[in-house]
């Protein structure tokens, strides 16, 4: 997000719905997308992400509700008259044209002098590290290169918004991770608003300034990656983004800025009142959550933090840099997940080992 434009909305979605016959693909989406930000629509397959993106691009119209782009209502404006460009999931590279003509496709209308056209195409190709690829035939490109050509084809138009529909899902893991970083870097350097559709939470967390998590045609939560991870406001969001341990809980009283909770397996403890989502009463609390890295297994000789309980290791999964433990706590049938960094000299515990688990009250997440 460039500081000058911070918080200025480029796209406003106002209660947008879309029905396909009996299927309600979108059930009232409202959001503001800020100028220059990297915005992601994250959600499981079928939640309506593509439908929303296509309506912003102009390939589809809302059943009800309005989309405003750069201050102008978009109703009735066709895709070819909108200041948006799309990177298609299939890339949609024109098979009968060279790489250069694919990239320059949208420029042809401007009837630039040939030298200028060639220069612009080459510049766009260089931006995606494909300098010199112009004369090649489109069908000679690899998947990753096609993806770059599709991006260059959109960048060259200098649109207000670039829309990307799962652009990395067809690439292998290594290439995908590399492209995530590159896309992010590119977006920062050109300053164009990017809207990315993805079902991959990690991808969304890595790349975005803000993320709208969607379920069943609605935005469940719109926040920065950190806020989404630390303070997911529903259990569904919490379990979609990362891993979350859920525990039954009941409030037993309030004192000042603390709430006293009686939590399954963890026992009685006081959490900060700020953990309570806005507008929620403490008496409405039924469940809380703890992230795996917010609990730790107490190793021999470590100092006690005050909040500790007995536990037994049920299973361990070794990931090299991390070990994920499934840990049985007394008073809870399902084991909880706890992650530990494998720092120097730290042994991996065997299943069956008796140990203790510590946690801090500040790490407890309360759900609406």
């Amino acid at each position: 997000m460039t500081a000058a434009n911070a918080d200025k909305p480029i796209i406003t979605l106002d209660n947008v719905t879309r029905s396909f016959g009996a299927v309600q693909a979108l059930r009232g989406v409202s959001a503001e997308i800020r100028e220059g930000e990297f915005f992601s629509l994250l959600g499981p397959s079928g939640c309506g992400k593509t439908t929303l993106l296509r309506m912003i691009a102009g390939f589809d119209e809302p059943t009800t509700g309005t989309i405003t782009l750069d201050g102008k209502p978009m109703a009735g404006i066709a895709a070819n008259h909108r200041p948006t460009n799309m990177v298609f999931q299939s890339y949609a590279i024109f098979p009968h044209l060279s790489v250069g003509d694919n990239v320059g496709y949208g420029l042809k209308k401007k009837r630039l002098p040939k030298a200028e056209y060639d220069r612009e195409v080459e510049e766009a190709l260089e931006m995606v590290s494909l300098g010199g690829y112009g004369p090649r035939a489109a069908h000679t490109l690899s998947g990753g290169q096609r993806q770059r050509v599709a991006l260059a084809r959109a960048l060259i138009m200098r649109p207000k918004v670039i829309l990307l529909d799962e652009p990395l899902s067809a690439l292998d893991k290594k290439l995908r991770e590399q492209m995530q970083i590159e896309l992010r870097r590119l977006q920062r350097s050109v300053g164009i608003t990017f809207i990315l559709v993805t079902h991959d939470q990690e991808e969304a967390l890595i790349m975005s300034d803000r993320i709208a998590v969607m379920f069943d045609g609605q935005i469940a939560q719109l926040d920065s990656p950190e806020a989404l991870y630390r303070k997911p406001n529903t259990q569904r969001v919490a379990s979609f983004i990362g891993v979350m341990n859920f525990l039954e809980a009941k409030a037993s009283g309030e004192k000042g800025d603390k709430i006293s909770l009686d939590i399954q397996a963890l026992g009685k403890l006081d959490i900060p009142a700020s953990a309570l989502p806005a507008g929620m009463k403490s008496s409405e609390i039924t469940r809380v959550g703890v992230r795996p890295e917010m609990m730790s297994i107490v190793l021999e000789g470590a100092k006690s933090t005050g909040h500790e309980i007995d536990a037994e290791i049920a299973e361990s999964e070794y990931y090299g840099d991390m070990t994920y433990y499934l840990v049985s706590l007394p008073g809870k049938d399902e084991p909880v997940t706890i992650s530990m960094r494998n720092t120097a000299g730290r042994a991996v515990l065997e299943p069956g080992s008796k140990t203790r688990v510590s946690f801090s009250p500040e790490s407890i997440v309360v759900f609406r």
Binding site: A78, N80, N85
Partner: protein, 289 residues
């Protein structure tokens, strides 16, 4: 590996050999015979088999044959143009506009084939004739005072009849080519600023060229050699080269000359097809500039 491959090869040969023999018997043998004939001379009832180019000389120099050959080409090019131009919108409609039951549409397009070709030609006679459906309708509507005569027994009638007969053969390959176009390409073109017309000429048409090409050749090649249609609806000015070939093999009793005419027209059509093929390969590239 090589033994396996050899085995495979032998097995394959064995499998295709009946088809192969069939093809040789029915296609290659008559063709070779015709080519041989074209170098012989008819000597009243006997054939003089000393090789000669006399038949070709006559076929290529006599004004009558040249006129007939050129007319055949003109008619078939005209038929092809009319057929392909009218087939394209139909194929486009079925591929892009029909959302459900495309198969039913294709089925209906082939409906005329349920009756014999002769019957269809006679139907056109009924429609286009002096007292035919077309003239009667125009008379009844008061558009004309007396029946039009230029619509039957001339080139127009041949073109109409052939274009109708070959329409499905042109529609199907174009339809297949249009179906193969990835719809996201069209959206990408629109996204990059093209309106429907620009998009059609920059994406849809270039990508449909293989189908249009196939349609052109499928219609052009057989219509040059058609002889029933000109005989039945073409009158004298609608006669084509095949009618002459038929006469040479029959009444005129000059099979070698007929064979030379046949081989000549085969080469001309082959050459023309090659030209069309080469030209069409450039269309896609030229369209972008």
């Amino acid at each position: 590996m090589s033994i396996d491959a050899q085995n495979e090869g032998r097995k394959g040969l064995l499998l295709v050999s009946p088809t192969f023999a069939y093809a040789i018997l029915l296609l290659a043998a008559p063709l070779i015979l015709v080519i041989l004939f074209s170098f012989w001379t008819q000597d009243y009832l006997d054939l003089d088999t000393t090789p000669t180019l006399a038949n070709y000389k006559e076929a290529w120099t006599a004004p009558l044959y040249r006129e007939l050959m050129l007319r055949s080409l003109r008619i078939s090019v005209l038929v092809t143009t009319v057929t392909v131009l009218s087939a394209f919108p139909v194929a486009y409609y079925v591929s892009f506009r029909v959302k459900e039951r495309k198969a039913l549409w294709l089925f209906l397009i082939t409906a005329p084939f349920w009756t014999s070709y002769l019957l269809r030609v006679f139907l056109w006679k009924v429609i286009l004739g002096y007292n035919g459906v077309f003239n009667s309708a125009l008379l009844w509507a008061g558009i004309i005072d007396e029946p039009l005569q230029f619509i039957l027994y001339n080139v127009n009638a041949v073109v109409i009849t052939l274009a109708h007969a070959w329409a499905p053969f042109a529609i199907l390959p174009i339809f297949v080519a249009l179906e193969k176009i990835d719809r996201s390409l069209l959206e990408a073109a629109e996204d990059l600023g093209d309106g429907p017309v620009r998009r059609f000429f920059r994406i849809t048409l270039p990508l449909a060229i293989p189908g249009v090409m196939a349609a052109t050749l499928i219609v052009l090649i057989p219509t040059v050699g058609d002889f029933i249609t000109p005989r039945l609806v073409g009158g004298t000015e609608g006669l084509m080269i095949s009618n002459m070939i038929q006469v040479q093999f029959g009444k005129a009793n000059n099979a070698p000359l007929g064979a030379a005419l046949a081989v000549s027209s085969m080469f001309i059509v082959g050459g023309l097809s090659l030209l069309i093929f080469l030209a069409s390969r450039r269309v896609g590239r030229v369209a972008e500039d």
